[in-house]
């Protein structure tokens, strides 16, 4: 039976303002896939619900998972205070992750925006393809840049123009004249909408990772749904569950 378990924090450091990079020792590392996420439970019982946090990197050999997350509220603020040896309560691995087979051997864009950048790292590591990694940041705090560079050609966009293309990831694609057969992406909703439109015009598939407020994380509460083109298999009402049917969807299947 699956169960919530307490894992051990191996290390943690702040890699940009309010962005934390944590390695966790857990048996979940053995079969974690890129694009899957963990439900992490704060210890403070005034904040009860699991925080959905994407898996940034896995090290199956060491039995370790890496998460990179932003402080968004009381729960993530608590996590940011954990140090080596502390327990961290989690449920995983949740969701389906990116369909690697759809990109194998092709020209792919791996696109991340802001706190959507982290899951792109493990995806870039695992995917065997012509990888163009296009990541967007608010400013010059280019967290995970050095890690990403190892696994593909990296293009950066910053909103304030402090590095790479001034603007967003779509501007970076245009400025560099890039082309792809398939897109994988995670980031804020406006970015995902732009990617859906871009992929639609070119009639190429785009696998986008969605985010929504969640409660259970296992498909029972129906809190985190997204409107779908086809009737969903659970409730038969065009509302798929992001936690279990996603979080990655082909952009044409969802209304974002």
């Amino acid at each position: 039976m699956k169960q919530k378990h307490t894992a051990k924090v191996l290390s943690q450091r702040e890699i940009a303002p309010d962005i934390y990079d944590m390695w966790i020792e857990t048996p979940l590392a053995a079969d974690a896939r890129p694009g899957q996420f963990l439900g992490i439970y704060p210890k403070n019982q005034s904040t009860l619900l699991p925080r959905p946090i994407s898996i940034c990197e896995t090290d199956a050999g060491k039995g370790a998972l890496r998460i990179v997350y932003r402080i968004a509220g009381a729960g993530t603020r608590e996590f940011s205070g954990y140090g080596p040896g502390d327990g961290i309560s989690l449920l995983g691995n949740l969701g389906n992750g990116f369909p690697l087979e759809q990109g194998a051997g092709k020209r792919v864009f791996l696109m991340g925006g802001g706190i959507g950048v982290p899951p792109i790292l493990e995806l870039a590591k695992r995917l065997e393809a012509q990888k163009r990694i296009i990541v967007g940041y608010r400013d010059g705090n280019l967290f995970l840049k050095e890690d990403l560079e190892k696994y593909g050609t990296l293009y950066v966009a910053t909103e304030d123009g402090s590095a790479g293309t001034k603007g967003n990831v779509m501007d970076a694609i245009r400025e560099n004249g890039l082309e792809a057969d398939v897109i994988f992406a995670c980031g804020p909703m406006p970015m995902l909408r732009a990617i859906k439109a871009y992929a639609g015009q070119r009639d190429i598939p785009a696998y986008i990772s969605l985010e929504e407020h969640m409660a259970c994380g296992v498909g029972a509460c129906l809190g985190c749904v997204v409107k779908t083109k086809e009737i969903d298999h659970h409730s038969h009402v065009h509302n798929a569950r992001i936690c279990t049917d996603g979080p990655v969807f082909e952009a044409r299947e969802v209304e974002v």
Partner: protein, 324 residues
Amino acid sequence: MPISGMFESARYARKSAQRGRSMNTQVTLAGVTLKNPVMTASGTFGSGMEYSEFVDLNRLGAVVTKGVANVPWPGNPTPRVAEVYGGMLNAIGLQNPGINVFLERDIPFLKQYDTKVIVNVCGKTVEDYVEVVERLGEEPAVAMLEINVSCPNVKEGAIAFGQKAEALFDITKEVKRHAKQPVIMKLSPNVTDIAEMAKAAEAAGADAISLINTITGMKIDIHKRKFALANKTGGMSGPAIKPIAVRMVYQAATAVRIPVIGMGGIANAEDAIEFLLAGATAVSIGAMNFVNPCTCVEVVEGIERYMEQYHVENVTELIGGLRE
């Protein structure tokens, strides 16, 4: 899995018996005997499928399903959930696949397990409720019906029937006229006098009542200056509401002779026992399933430990078992 699950539960029963004194955890609700008083709260457990990966459903007194309507309901726009201090708000809006899919998919799934199946029924009109109740009447695997007249998150039906004693009386009467299984009316805490509501349900022939459903609440995001939920209001659940729920269960249980199923913020066996002592015959675990998917079974085990510790031979001794 279900078979090994049954084996597990048989082994557990033996183990409990071996601990010495005989211990009886059975309770009876309107003629339906549950192996223990612990069930799931509607809407927090789906039809058990998702949580069957985490808990052995054979260990539960009953599985209470998410509300089922006559046709599929899409539910509300997102965000549908928000965390609040010691609890959460939800405005799912009763998204459900409708009675056809429920009977074809969810009932066969639940039939595999040795637990009672209680189906929560929702509707926009009296006719909607009756249609679902009649369809379920043909299904022997369904032990009881729980009628949702208390969901605060849909515009029509549900709570509209649950906030006035006359309306509650009328729908209870109508449902009872068509129901083949015992009927539980699920009451809303969003009323002035819960005892009056409990009495209205009893007078109309309800076989049991369950309470509390969620308490209507609101959360505002001060950074965005927006409501946290697309529905603006949502139902509050979680440990923060427990004292209100215990009080209401006590008031309802004192007002009626039919059994009361207590719920509202139960996080562990101690909480569950509080509800039993307040007069509940059974208890439901709701929001805490989200916090620990194994909560239900932990509550079952905790009640057994409490019974051992206090030499309680029969769990029914705890029901309304407050001392002067």
